[in-house]
Amino acid sequence: MSGGPGLESLVDQQISVITNDGRNIVGVLKGFDQATNIILDESHERVYSTKEGVQQLVLGLYIIRGDNISIVGEVDEELDSNLDMSKLRAHPLKPIIH
């Protein structure tokens, strides 16, 4: 399907994935397929809480099954480096309820 919202343009770029259980995983997109299964390299999870700033957990190379993916966002490196993660407070995202 040409011209559709594929992920081709995001390959080798930093992306931010929000999963159906509300997790936020950031990494470099290495591959994907029709079912939105995704290969992420050098990934880390950003854990949000109301008590302290954002915690970053190193995950490494990850494959995320498409079923479990809500959003794939293109990370704007400039915006991202200007974010002060230690000051961000938020409730974790709610899970997807079908």
């Binding site: 559709g4 919202p5 995001l10 159906n20 498409g66 704007d76 915006l79 991202d80 995202l93």
Partner: protein, 93 residues
């Protein structure tokens, strides 16, 4: 197929996509595919104070399976045309 064609006509318009986790994202509709996966440009989360999780994202891909609503611009909806098209599809023609 009907709604796929319908969304293709809305490309370039400003829409708000509400997800099944209550997150609402506003942006310009860039593209859509047969699964109704949606790509938005110039995105911002509607309640950014409550949901700062996407502050560094300006373009995003939303999986069709997690979309609850797509809020459309009023001028993007021709109710008569949609009526006719849905009835035609229901008749199998």
């Amino acid at each position: 197929m009907l709604f796929f064609s319908y969304f293709k006509d809305l490309v370039g318009r400003e829409v708000t996509v509400e997800l099944k986790n209550d997150l609402a994202i506003r942006g310009t509709l860039h593209s859509v595919d047969q699964y109704l996966n949606i790509k938005l440009e110039n995105t911002r989360v509607v309640d950014q104070d409550k949901y700062p999780h996407m502050l560094s994202v300006r373009n995003c891909f939303i999986r069709g399976s997690v979309v609850r609503y797509v809020q459309l611009p009023p001028e993007g909806v021709d109710v008569e045309l949609l009526h006719d098209a849905t009835r035609r599809e229901a008749r199998g023609g």
